[in-house]
Amino acid sequence: MAEPVEMTEAPLRMPLPAKSVTGTHAVVMPEVARVPAPRSLTLERPRVGRAAAGERWIARILRGGALISGGMFLASLGLEALPSSLTAHVTIDTLRKGAASMLLVTPVARLVVAGAMLGLRGEWRYTLYAAGVLGLLGLAVGAGLQG
C-alpha cells in the first residue's frame, strides 16, 4: 500500500522586491504570500508516517482481538441461557476455547507487529527483544506441553 503524501498549506516565499514605486506612492509588497495548495493536491487525511501506521496496526490488532474474543464469550453466555442440549454444549465449549485462544494470541500478535515495525525503522534492538519474548513464550508453552 502506497504511503500517503503530506501536502499542507505552507507559506510560499517569493523573491519579490521589498518596495516598488508607482508615481509618488510607495507600495509595500508583502514578503510572504500565503498561497493555498490546489484542491486536487490537498489530501483530506493528515500525514501517516510509517511509525504512526505501525502504531495504528498495533491498536487494530489489540482492538480486533478483544472484540472477537469478547463477542465469542458473550455468545457462549447467550447459548447457556437456551435449553440444554448436546449441540449447545459442544458449541459453548468450542466458542469458549476459541475465545480464550484468540485472547491469548492477541498480545503475542501485537508483539510481532511491534517488533517488525521497529525493525523496519532500523531499531533492531527492539526486534531482538520481541524475538526474545516470543522465544521464551514458546519455551514456556513447549515445557507445558511436555509437563
Binding site: Y129, L137, V141
Partner: protein, 260 residues
C-alpha cells in the same frame, strides 16, 4: 445471578485496570476469593485471563493516543516474561495462604510507597517530552513483577507502574498506559502455564472477560481526562484495601489458631 455478579466484578476490575495500569487482577483475585468463595487456585488463572483482556481493550486506545511507550514496554517485557515463567514454575509448590500473605504484604508495600513517594518526587510535566532513566532498576524490577504476576495473578502492574513512574521518571499516565500494554504479554505467559495444567475454568472466565472488556473500554476513554493526582490516590487506596483483605485471609490460612 452469579453470572451477573461475575460480569459486574469484571467490569469494575476492567475499569480500575485500565485507569491505573494494574490489569485488574489486583481487585479481581480478592473479589473472587473473598466475595464469591472461589478457591485461589482457580481465581488466579481466571484473573490472569482478565488481565490479558483488560490489556488488549485498554492498550488499543492508549497506543492510538500515543500514550503508551512501545520501546520502553518492549524493553521491560523481556525481563517480565522471564520473571513470569520463573514464577509459574514455582507456583505449584507454594501454599495458597502463603501466596495470599505475600500478595497482601506486596500490595501494602506498594500503597505506602505511592503515598510516601507521591509528595517527594515531582511529576514530569509532559506525557510526550520525557526520557526514561535508570534502566537497570527498571529491568530487574520488571523481572520481580513478572514472577509476582505468575504467583498472584495480578499482571505485575502494581509494581511496574510505581517502578516506571518513580524509578524511571516516566509520567504517571504514560506509566499506566505502558503497563497496560505490557501486562497482556505477562498475563498470557502466566495463564498458558496454568491452562496446560488444567487450572483454567472457562465457565468462570467467560462472564468475567465480558465484564472486563466493557470496563476496560470505558476506563481507557476516561483515563486521559482524569487528573494524575486523582489516579495516584485511587491507586494507593485500592491497594491498601486489598492488602488488608489478603493479609487477613492469608493469616487465617497460615495461623488458624491465632484467628480463633
Amino acid at each position: 445471578m452469579t453470572v451477573l455478579l461475575l460480569i459486574t466484578a469484571g467490569t469494575i476490575a476492567g475499569l480500575a485496570g485500565a485507569l491505573l495500569g494494574i490489569g485488574g487482577g489486583v481487585l479481581l483475585v480478592p473479589a473472587l476469593v473473598l466475595g464469591l468463595g472461589i478457591p485461589l487456585e482457580e481465581a488466579v488463572p481466571a484473573s490472569l485471563m482478565c488481565v490479558v483482556a483488560s490489556s488488549c481493550a485498554s492498550a488499543a486506545s492508549y497506543v492510538d493516543n500515543r500514550l503508551s511507550d512501545i520501546r520502553l514496554g518492549m524493553t521491560l517485557e523481556l525481563a517480565t516474561v522471564m520473571g513470569a515463567i520463573a514464577g509459574g514454575l514455582v507456583a505449584a509448590y507454594i501454599a495458597p495462604a502463603m501466596v495470599a500473605v505475600v500478595f497482601g504484604m506486596f500490595t501494602l508495600f506498594v500503597a505506602l510507597q505511592m503515598l510516601v513517594l507521591n509528595r517527594r518526587a515531582p511529576e514530569p510535566m509532559s506525557v510526550s517530552n520525557y526520557a526514561p532513566m535508570n534502566y537497570p532498576l527498571g529491568v530487574s524490577g520488571s523481572f520481580v513483577a513478572g514472577g509476582l504476576s505468575a504467583l498472584l495473578g495480578v499482571g505485575g502492574g502494581p509494581l511496574k507502574v510505581p517502578l516506571m513512574s518513580y524509578g524511571m521518571r516516566v509520567p504517571f499516565k504514560v506509566a499506566t498506559a505502558t503497563s497496560n500494554l505490557m501486562v497482556g504479554v505477562t498475563g498470557a505467559a502466566s495463564v498458558a502455564s496454568y491452562a496446560w495444567r488444567g487450572h483454567l475454568r472457562l465457565e468462570l472466565v467467560s462472564p468475567l472477560v465480558v465484564g472486563v472488556l466493557a470496563g476496560a473500554y470505558a476506563g481507557s476513554r476516561v483515563m486521559p481526562r482524569v487528573p494524575t493526582a486523582v489516579l495516584k490516590k485511587l491507586f494507593a487506596g485500592v491497594l491498601l484495601v486489598v492488602a488488608s483483605q489478603m493479609l487477613w485471609k492469608g493469616g487465617e490460612g497460615l495461623w488458624p489458631s491465632l484467628w480463633k
